[in-house]
């Protein structure tokens, strides 16, 4: 499968199954589109007719007549050799490996610890319903937290790196327990030959010097929630009493980001129908001095006023193009900016197994409620149908675990012919469930945005390769 598109002056060709990205001239771009359906002579003749007025070569000189004919033949032969080398029109050889891979022993390597089902903000789009997850307010006890870490260690097989995200609600509402759990985790590391990677997701309201010092020492990543411009942030992220959170959190986030040398953190925002021009929010965050930025589209039922409507999609796609160009300009001017969803490592990146199996929800990745129940991920918390077990007994709903284990790119009919399938791994199971009642389905709006992000990410790589 080949995906070809034009972006910011580049003719880009993605060979989906090999992951290879090629930049090509106009002549080659046309020939690749017709290559699967035409023989050599017919294809060469066809492009020569199409470009009878000439087509520019790399240096901008017009190729015409005999020279064009000869070059078209040369291009055809090159495409053929690329096909033989498996870098273009390559076959999908992975499906048999999925079955084999899904039979491997299930280990748990990451937990999202809901240390507090309570929040000091009342964000309007919160899937946790102001921290309560359709349930009661609660804080995780140290005892439950320790059992969660024990459960993780005991079920992690030979994985060395174990991830624990302190999440909520707002985890800083249960700060003493967070600190004690980090201490407990560190004590277990040598004993079990494990390495804990603790992370914190916070709204920043309770960040202070003591918290920052601890976080900088112990947390491998911090996610700082802020939506962007003051009016955008404060509209969706107010305190319960109604006033906005922007003025309080921005100086703290700036301080923490600097203390962390502008690495190993993200300012993370959500954009909604109310700020379709979200590239402005990323720009704003960049201009505030943040170098690690992630903003994501809101996922909401259509009845919500902030939910995207079908007609919003063209604008959202356009915004990603604007953002990609902004990032290139910003970097060119000597200011670093990293946008999480445009990160792409063409020299390596995750292996095909990771790309096939996705986020690991329900298998490698589980969420733990304040009272110790296990769910496939943070987004399923509160939906009893998805209760998987608890920290005392472990995963007891094996049928549900199996269902998640079988959830991969090849189990989703709608992903089969999608060029982005090895980048999103079939997308978010929770989103699919929330929109279609089936984790093997997909959330279409999310898919369109994901595809655009992949295109932009590749374009950025192309532009940087050209400048290097």
């Amino acid at each position: 499968m080949v995906h070809q598109y034009k972006s910011n002056g580049f003719n880009i060709v993605l060979d989906v199954n090999s992951g290879m990205v090629h930049l090509v001239d106009e002549l080659t771009y046309e020939m690749i589109a017709a290559f699967p359906n035409m023989e050599r002579d017919a294809l060469v003749k066809s492009v020569c007719e199409k470009f009878s007025d000439g087509t520019p070569d790399e240096e901008g000189r017009l190729l015409k007549g005999e020279e064009l004919y000869s070059e078209a033949q040369h291009v055809y032969d090159e495409l053929l050799s690329m096909k033989e080398a498996g870098t273009l029109f390559s076959e999908d050889i992975y499906e048999p490996y999925v079955e084999e891979f899904s039979k491997r022993e299930t280990v748990v390597k990451a937990l999202c610890l809901h240390t507090a089902h309570d929040c000091n903000l009342a964000c309007r789009y919160c899937f946790a319903e102001e921290g309560e997850y359709h349930g009661r307010r609660a804080l995780m006890s140290l005892e439950v937290g320790k059992k969660a870490l024990d459960f993780l260690i005991q079920n992690s097989g030979n994985r060395k790196n174990l991830e624990v995200d302190f999440f909520g609600g707002e985890p800083l509402l249960n700060w003493e327990v967070v600190k004690e759990l980090v201490k407990y985790g560190r004590e277990q590391e040598a004993r079990y030959e494990k390495k804990f990677r603790f992370t914190l997701t916070t709204n920043g309201v309770l960040l202070n010097d003591e918290v920052m010092e601890f976080v900088n020492r112990e947390m491998s990543n911090v996610v700082l929630s802020i939506d962007g411009r003051k009016e955008v942030n404060d509209r969706m992220r107010p305190f319960r009493r109604g006033d906005g959170s922007y003025d309080l959190i921005v100086p703290k986030f700036q301080k923490l980001a600097e203390q962390r040398n502008q690495t190993d953190y993200y300012v993370r925002g959500t954009f909604t129908h109310h700020n379709l021009d979200f590239s402005e929010d990323v720009k704003h965050l960049s201009e505030l001095g943040f170098e690690q930025i992630s903003v994501e589209p809101v996922v909401a039922q259509p009845t919500e006023d902030y939910a995207f409507r079908e007609e919003d999609l063209p604008e959202l796609l356009k915004q990603y193009d604007i953002l990609a160009k902004y990032i290139l300009e910003r970097r060119k001017s000597g200011k670093w900016i990293n946008f999480f969803h445009f990160m792409l490592d063409l020299s390596g990146g995750p292996c095909v197994y990771k790309r096939l199996s996705g986020c690991g929800s329900g298998t490698e990745y589980l969420a733990v409620t304040p009272w110790g129940d296990l769910y496939p991920c943070h987004q399923f918390v509160g939906n009893e149908e998805f209760l998987m077990g608890n920290v005392d007994e472990g995963v007891t709903n094996l049928e549900l675990r199996e269902k998640f284990r079988q959830c991969n790119v090849y189990s989703k009919e709608k992903c089969k012919n999608c060029f982005a399938k090895f980048h999103c791994s079939g997308g978010c199971a929770a989103n699919a469930y929330n929109f279609h009642g089936d984790i093997h389905d997909v959330y279409e709006v999310g898919c369109e945005l994901q595809k655009k992000r992949v295109e932009c990410a590749i374009m950025i790589q192309a532009a940087q390769a050209q400048n290097s």
């Binding site: 990205v21 050889i93 790196n161 992370t199 809101v298 995750p350 990771k354 987004q379 390769a465």
Partner: protein, 48 residues
Amino acid sequence: MKHITTLNAKNLKETVKKGGCGECQTSCQSACKTSCTVGNQKCENKNR
């Protein structure tokens, strides 16, 4: 005349043999909690 420039150094198919160690970060533990951004995670396989 150069018509094609390839940007990658590595073909995804090469990862079939030595991939799957599972040491890399879970995507929702980094910065996405509502999407599934897997393609941008770092590979942490020491035996690549």
